[in-house]
Symmetry: C2
Subunit: 240 residues, 2 copies
DNA sequence: CGGTCGATTGATGCTACTCAAACTTAGTGG
DNA sequence: CCACTAAGTTTGAGTAGCATCAATCGACCG
């Protein structure tokens, strides 16, 4: 099996044949490194290509007039950062590297030809965007009806599972090198409050998080606290 | 131009030819009425068909163990309630009629054949699901970083624009026959607080809402309060 | 006319925000 | 090797927003 992040990711959910795999790979530009905080796609632009994340973490960022900042999605290795711009064209938010990251791009005209010649691949890519939407809905549930603590726990459960699907988790440890300020902007809380919730999770013995490495110490209890059900991530394989 | 809600909706964003329109229409089951609060799709099911809303309002509903209830999306006439189940299969939430509604269904095997024979229609439907995701992201921004009042105002702005695209707005008035409890579950606040925020908007002269009819009295000021930018709804036409 | 549903109002307390300061860590240049 | 700086984390104090509980009111309905 190929070790390319994109193929790795898509193959978790559906079988790709050799033709499809080589076609996907052939469309990708050479990889490029991004510095932390680099804006990879800017609000208001209509790029003409989509960007694939090869390693690191990126986030969709919306900034409000009063300075409020909300991260609406985290992308992990193998995720498209802005596949939706293929159909949506204009970006209504920007995409930023949350830590050092590596990306490659695919031109929209190539994607378009692919969707016309390979309907199965089109459905597989469509599936990726619907999973993004399912994750969005869980975040809405979290922000609307979960307690702060459960919300943070849910984020860690979700990130753990998504990184695991991307083969980036070793014994319940994974790289999570973001700031507490970013964490607050993900959860819709202040940095100070994020810090205090983190301390609760730590003293409860649920997680450890030092040097950018997150360790899940009590997976079962963390899931219970978060009311986490991985169904929405569709981690199992079934033909699309 | 056809007056079918689906065609009306899709044609706002891209041109459909006669062949595509009649194909879409031919796939739809006969319409069916739903009572308020009826569960149209249940959590955990894998329907084998998707449901189109012809009139009324429906919502995606997630219920938590502690009784907390969150509505993660509102659907209006012409929207698919669960198009994502075409690729996602299993429902991780239920879909409920928020008021009297009318629906029709499309079998997934028919959708699949359509996406293989008509790539343009596939992209148009894909676009619909990416717009859903864009709306989700705005809700995340609202719940995370907008004040309660701005959040409610933003919902009304968004709903106004979406219903307008579905030709359901007459002189800034539209049918919005939901309860304040549902409104609270949409915004992630208590019924009591929803009531109080409503009073603020009313006494500020921004809206009127009686007998299930919402009247936007000061569109400009409402948009300003909400920081509403309709870009994400992609209401303009551009080929996909 | 009682019953149910939804809207409204009041009182009380918790959650999380804001402001502000101290502290820790890593990186930089003398 | 040691200031010095900048970025990020941690702590404290006061406060605003919103939840919760509880009661009332109005409209509709059998």
């Amino acid at each position: 099996m190929s070790t390319h992040p994109l193929v790795q990711k898509l193959s978790r959910r559906d079988d790709l044949n050799g033709d499809e795999i080589s076609l996907l790979k052939s469309m990708l530009s050479p990889p490029r490194r991004c510095a932390p905080r680099e804006e990879i796609v800017r609000q208001g632009e209509a790029p003409g290509f989509s960007t694939l994340l090869l390693s690191g973490l990126c986030g969709r960022v919306t900034t409000l007039a009063n300075g409020g900042r909300q991260i609406t999605q985290i992308s992990v290795a193998g995720d498209f950062l802005d596949l939706h711009s293929f159909t949506l064209k204009v970006m209504d938010h920007s995409v930023t590297a949350l830590c050092e990251a590596e990306i490659a791009t695919v031109r929209h005209d190539q994607l378009r030809r692919l969707t016309e010649s390979h309907p199965h691949l089109a459905r597989v890519l469509w599936l990726e965007t619907t999973i993004d939407a399912a994750i969005h809905r869980q975040w809405i549930v979290s922000q609307g009806r979960r307690s702060g603590l459960a919300r943070m726990a849910h984020l860690f459960c979700e990130t753990h599972q998504r990184l695991k699907a991307a083969d980036r988790v070793i014994e319940d440890d994974f790289a999570f090198p973001i700031t507490q300020a970013d964490l607050g902007d993900i959860l819709g809380i202040s940095t100070v409050h994020a810090n205090r919730l983190l301390q609760s999770l730590r003293t409860a013995g649920l997680i450890r998080w030092t040097g950018g490495i997150m360790s899940i110490l009590a997976w079962e209890r963390l899931c219970e606290l978060a009311e986490f059900d991985p169904l929405y991530l569709r981690l199992h394989k079934s033909a699309v």
